[in-house]
């Protein structure tokens, strides 16, 4: 009973932290974008205000929508993005659902919020939302390839170094790929890091990969028919998902903690690692989301597919080759 209670408690705390960090991240994002565009930009708390407002507003269900599905999907999106967090270790804190999850599970859980968005878009019955949903689906296909490559090859490299259970986050917390890789491997991992930087905006549907929501083309695309509370829930889900994705990238590719540097242990180490972890998340979010979306124009959906499959797919294959060679040279396999 106690376990269940503490799991529920942990989930709630995690949800709150996830939402808070997510909204804070998008606040920072909007602020920095504004500065880069020579503007002042909104206050940091603007995303909080926006969500608060949305939650109090009327939620209109369009005439052609399937109401229950239409209303359910925002909740599904939020719930599933929170679920992602439960499997992730933050700093040196083990995940709430510790052993149960691993990288691939998280990878698939990350699909669920997008899927909820797609189904919600379909359920709203509007042509724009439908085109948006269709594009979201296509871009999911697009970034899945480099994403799968990154995750699988990292696990493979770990396995080649005789690390047991290479998909598990617990393993990742203990062993960093960077430690097992030789020089060639490091180059491969750097490629993967680069890859991840470009996958993140795709997963979050940000410019240049924002064609599902393309305002100038589709009037908000998938979300065109959503309003009020439902829209608010979607933005919460988006915020949490942002934390989830970036945290995922940080965990697998930037796994270092501060506490060993200071030789700390115990609660203090957990706190400092947690802070350091979120600092990493913020930095990654700025580099891979904020800067990218500010410096580029939107790609067409066909170009999105091409870029992810051929350019980033190619880079991924290069990384695979490098890491496999590396494993050979290091004598793992």
């Amino acid at each position: 009973m106690n376990i269940i209670l503490s799991a529920i408690g942990g989930t709630i705390v995690l949800a709150i932290i996830g939402i808070a960090v997510g909204l804070f991240l998008s606040g920072i994002d909007r602020r920095i974008v504004a500065r880069m565009q020579a503007r002042i930009g909104p206050p940091l708390r603007q995303p909080f205000t926006d969500v608060k407002k949305l939650l109090t507003k009327q939620s209109i269900v369009p005439a052609n929508a399937i109401p229950w599905l239409f209303n359910l999907m925002p909740i599904a999106a939020l719930a599933s993005s929170i679920a992602v967090l439960m499997y992730l270790p933050f700093g040196s804190l083990a995940p709430i659902l510790g052993e149960a999850g691993d990288m691939i599970l998280v990878l698939y859980l990350l699909i669920v919020p997008s899927l909820a968005l797609v189904i919600g878009g379909f359920a709203s019955g509007s042509p724009y939302a439908t085109v948006g949903a269709q594009r979201e689906m296509v871009s999911m296909i697009a970034y899945e390839l480099p994403l799968a490559i990154s995750v699988v090859i990292i696990a493979w490299r770990l396995m080649a170094a005789n690390v047991a259970d290479p998909f598990s986050f617990m393993t990742l917390m203990e062993t960093s790929v960077w430690d097992v890789a030789g020089p060639l491997g490091i180059v491969g991992l750097l490629l993967l890091l680069f890859l991840f930087m470009w996958i993140t905006p795709g997963e979050l549907s940000k410019v240049p990969f924002d064609s599902p929501e393309a305002e100038t083309e589709l009037a908000g695309g998938i979300l065109a028919e959503y309003s009020g509370r439902n829209l608010g829930l979607f933005s919460l889900a988006q915020a949490v998902k942002m934390v989830g994705i970036i945290a995922f990238g940080v965990i697998i590719l930037l796994p270092w903690n501060l506490s060993p540097v200071f030789g700390m242990t115990g609660a203090g180490a957990a706190v400092i690692d947690l802070v350091f972890f979120f600092v990493k998340v913020i930095v990654v979010s700025i580099l891979s989301v904020t800067v990218v979306r500010t410096m580029m124009a939107r790609l067409r959906i066909t170009q999105v597919v091409k870029v992810y499959w051929f350019v980033f797919g190619g880079i991924g294959i290069a990384a695979i080759i490098l890491l496999m060679l590396d494993a050979f040279l290091m004598g793992g396999v």
Partner: protein, 521 residues
């Protein structure tokens, strides 16, 4: 009671056969209770299968000789081919379970969906025959009997495919199915002949114990792989599957999935049990893996542009079969390397096998849901459907669950087995996992497209008055849904209790032989 329990394997075949025989009689004289009779027979058959399976899982491989008092009498003459011998090990039991669940759920569905049709007696008789064929295929320990059940399976299946449909397509689909499977059957028969000529026996355990790597045996193996691959509908032998599936009544298609998996059963049985210890597993393993990858990729790419909703599902069946071949193929490739088998081979095997039952469940569910749509609208074409979500809420939910399951989205069962596959085959070769993951997302895309074009959008005037399907059909779908979700939520439990034994049974060729032939060899 004990008598019943002792003769469980016989009941597996006897109940459906007897039931099938009685259907026309009852249909003639007591038409009112015919539907109830069908359900009862099917229930009993499934019950028998479940109990059999349970017995196997609890007590180990079951060897049953028809007409013989004790097991040993089957083995003593080594080469005596004339007795019917059933050898149900973990793998067989596993297949029985899968067939039992689906066939019972489908019966509920069929009884409601076929209500307005004529010629039902024969239809149900055939259906029960098909069930018997499947049960038989996965239970028999004798190659010739395997062939016989395979033929029953094929003929009943082909008859059911063309049932209730007049005109070109149905018949054409059935004929194509029949021809392909008959050719397959003949190949099986020929291989059996080759083996029999050499070893003078049809008993699998006995053959396995004698098997050597000779040219003749290689020819037999190639024929086996080809023929059973045809039955299973894997690339490059997949051409008949979509044609047959797209024309068969939807409930039937759901069972046909199981029927074709019996082919897969045969394939794995031949590979592991018959040839297991004696051949170069790496080469053959790669062949299987490549067939798997091709099935996955070609199946899904063929599915994407399909307009006929059932054809589309059929191509996905091809694609999903690929996953099973992939998992099992990897396990086969490392069969000779105990370390690798322990590290990932066994998991790959379990993943592949787990996917068999999962596929039977969610694909069955999908066929039933699609069947429900067709039942109400009479329309197959995605271009003409739309907006049904407003009226067919339950069907939509079932379809969505099936779709998410087949696409491998957590927490449904498809994900559980695919996860096992991803996380094991990568160790053999990382590209395999990556391809498998990408195929999954393509599957998802394809199903989202179907979901959208069938259920989403505004109500269409032509479907204004469409209602939800009858309760019994929903019941059939609910049964499958429960398993789809349940298997997804507690995959470990399922793997431990039914999948692992199945995998172990396949991996451990010796125990099969021992169970049949005794420790003497």
């Amino acid at each position: 009671m004990n008598l019943l329990l002792d003769n469980l394997p016989a009941l597996l075949i006897a109940v459906p056969l007897l039931g099938a025989f009685l259907v026309p009689v009852i249909g003639r004289f007591l038409p009112k209770i015919r539907d109830a009779w069908i359900i009862l027979v099917s229930f009993l058959a499934s019950l028998a299968a479940v109990i059999t399976a349970a017995a196997v899982f609890l007590k180990g491989t079951l060897v049953y000789v028809f007409g013989a008092a004790a097991v040993s009498s089957a083995a003593d003459s080594g080469g005596i081919p004339f007795r019917i011998i059933f050898t149900i090990d973990g793998f067989g039991a596993f297949m029985l379970l899968s067939a039992a669940i689906v066939s019972f759920a489908v019966v509920l569905y069929l009884v409601a969906s076929q209500k307005e049709r004529s010629g039902k007696s024969e239809f149900y008789a055939l259906y029960l025959l098909l069930t018997a064929g499947i049960f038989g295929m996965v239970s028999t320990g004798d190659l010739f009997n395997f062939f016989v059940f395979l033929e029953i399976n094929t003929l009943a299946g082909a008859a059911l495919v063309s049932y209730h449909r007049k005109g070109g397509i149905a018949v054409e689909g059935a004929i194509k199915y029949l021809i392909v499977n008959t050719v397959g059957g003949l190949m099986v028969l020929f291989s059996i002949g080759l083996l029999y000529a050499q070893y003078n026996s049809l008993n699998m355990a006995f053959l396995a114990s004698q098997m050597t790597w000779t040219t003749l045996n290689i020819v037999a193996l190639v024929l086996f792989i080809t023929a059973l691959g045809m039955k299973a509908g894997a690339v490059p032998f997949h051409f008949a599957t979509p044609d047959a599936y797209s024309v068969a009544p939807s409930g039937i298609t759901a069972v046909m999935v199981v029927a074709s998996q019996a082919g897969l059963y045969g394939l794995f049985r031949v590979l592991f049990t018959l040839y297991g210890g004696s051949i170069n597993t790496v080469t053959i393993g790669w062949v299987i893996i490549i067939l798997g990858i091709l099935s996955m990729v070609i199946g899904v790419t063929m599915a994407l542009p399909q307009k006929d909703i059932k054809r589309l599902l059929a191509y996905h069946a091809v694609s999903q079969t690929g996953y099973m071949l992939l998992g099992v193929g990897v396990a086969f490739a490392v069969l000779g390397d105990p370390a690798a088998t322990a590290a990932f081979g066994q998991t790959a095997m379990e993943g592949g096998l787990f996917h068999i039952i999962n596929h039977a469940l969610y694909k069955g569910l999908l066929f039933l849901a699609v069947g429900a749509v067709i039942y109400r609208t009479g329309v197959w074409s995605l271009n003409k459907l739309g907006g049904l979500g407003h009226n067919m809420k339950w069907t939509m939910v079932f379809f969505l669950i099936g779709a998410l399951a087949i696409a491998g989205i957590p927490p449904f069962n498809g994900f559980a087995s695919k996860l096992m596959i991803y996380e094991s085959v990568f160790a053999f070769n990382p590209a395999l996992s990556i391809i498998a993951m990408v195929v999954s997302i393509l599957t998802l895309a394809s199903f989202m497209k179907v979901f959208h074009s069938v259920f989403m959008g505004p109500r269409l005037p032509e479907y204004e008055n469409v209602k939800e399907v009858p309760k019994l059909m929903i019941a059939g779908m609910i049964i499958l849904t429960i398993f789809v979700i349940g298997f997804g939520l507690v995959p470990d439990l399922v793997v431990d209790s039914i999948v692992s034994p199945a995998a172990a049974a396949l991996l451990n060729q010796g125990s099969y032989i021992t169970a049949v032939l005794g420790g003497g060899l």
